[in-house]
C-alpha cells in the first residue's frame, strides 16, 4: 500500500480556504549522537494532546502550550484532548501516541541510559508554524537543554 498523501487530503477537507502553506525545508540540522544510546538521557515528546487529569486540557486549534508529564505517572490518570485525529485508541492505551510505559521498560532493560523526567506533551494541531518555531519549540528546547537531555524522541499523533 502506498503512503497516504495527507497534504492533498487536507486541502480537500477545507475546500473553502486557501491551501495551507506547509513548511518546506531544503536541508536539516545535525547533532551526531555523542555517546551510545545505553549511556544517553532520552526524553519523550508527544504531540497527541496527552495530559494528566489535573492539568488543563488543550483547548483548541493553535494551542501552543505544553504539559510536563511525570515519568512515573499512572496511565489511568492520563487524558487526551486533540481535535485532529480519532483519539479512541489513544484513550484506551495512551502508549499508541505517548509510549511512556514502553520507554520505562527500555530504561529498565538498559537500552536507553535514562528516561528523562518529565516527559513532554503538546497538541500538534497548530496552524501557525511561526508560533511553533518562535514560542513553543524554544520553550521546550530550553528545558531539555537545562535538564541535560541527550536524545529526544518525538511522536506525532
Amino acid at each position: 500500500m502506498s503512503p497516504v498523501a495527507y497534504i492533498p487530503r487536507t486541502r480537500d477537507l477545507y475546500p473553502d480556504y486557501p491551501p495551507y502553506r506547509w513548511v518546506v525545508n531544503e536541508d536539516a540540522p545535525w547533532t551526531p549522537l555523542k555517546a551510545p544510546l545505553a549511556e544517553c538521557k532520552v526524553a519523550l515528546l508527544s504531540t497527541g494532546g496527552i495530559h494528566t487529569s489535573d492539568q488543563t486540557p488543550f483547548h483548541s486549534r493553535d494551542d501552543t502550550t505544553y504539559r510536563e508529564i511525570p515519568r512515573d505517572v499512572d496511565f489511568k490518570d492520563l487524558c487526551v484532548s486533540h481535535f485532529g485525529y480519532i483519539t479512541d485508541d489513544a484513550r484506551a492505551d495512551p502508549n499508541c501516541v505517548f509510549p511512556l510505559e514502553r520507554m520505562r521498560e527500555l530504561q529498565t532493560d538498559g537500552i536507553i541510559g535514562e528516561l528523562a523526567n518529565p516527559a513532554y506533551s503538546m497538541m500538534g494541531g497548530i496552524y501557525s508554524s511561526r508560533r511553533v518555531r518562535d514560542q513553543l519549540a524554544p520553550a521546550i528546547v530550553d528545558l531539555l537543554v537545562q535538564r541535560e537531555v541527550d536524545v529526544l524522541l518525538l511522536v506525532p499523533a
Partner: protein, 110 residues
C-alpha cells in the same frame, strides 16, 4: 499538523545540540518539514507507536526508531519501517482524513 509541529521541534532541538528521532505516519508532511532523522510507519493517525495494548508491537516499533537514530547518517533522511496495519487489506487508507473522518472537523481562523 502534528507532523509539521514534530518536525519544527525536532529541528530546534537538534540545533541546540540534542540528537533527535522524529516518528511519522504522514510521509509527505515529514518530507516537507524535514526533521533531522525520521522513521515512517504506515499506520492510521493516532497509532504512531502501535495498536492499543499490543506491548510487543509497541516495543518493536520503538526499538526500530532507536536503531535508526543510531545508524542514520544523512540529515533529513526518512527510514520506512516495515509494519503493516492490516494484513486483511480492509483498506483503512480510503477513509483516512477524508470528509467524515472526524465529526465537525472545521478549521478555525481565529
Amino acid at each position: 499538523m502534528c507532523h509539521q509541529s514534530v518536525g519544527l521541534v525536532a529541528r530546534a532541538a537538534e540545533e541546540a545540540g540534542i540528537s533527535t528521532i522524529a516518528m511519522s505516519s504522514a510521509l509527505d508532511i515529514t518530507q516537507a518539514v524535514k526533521p533531522p532523522r525520521a522513521v515512517y510507519v504506515n499506520f492510521p493517525l493516532g497509532h504512531q507507536t502501535g495498536k492499543p495494548h499490543q506491548r510487543e508491537l509497541q516495543r518493536a516499533i520503538l526499538l526500530d526508531a532507536f536503531k535508526a537514530l543510531e545508524t542514520m547518517t544523512i540529515p533529513g533522511q526518512i527510514v520506512t519501517l516495515p509494519y503493516v496495519w492490516d494484513h486483511d487489506g480492509q483498506g483503512w487508507e480510503d477513509g483516512e482524513f477524508r470528509p467524515g473522518y472526524l465529526p465537525a472537523y472545521t478549521r478555525s481562523e481565529s
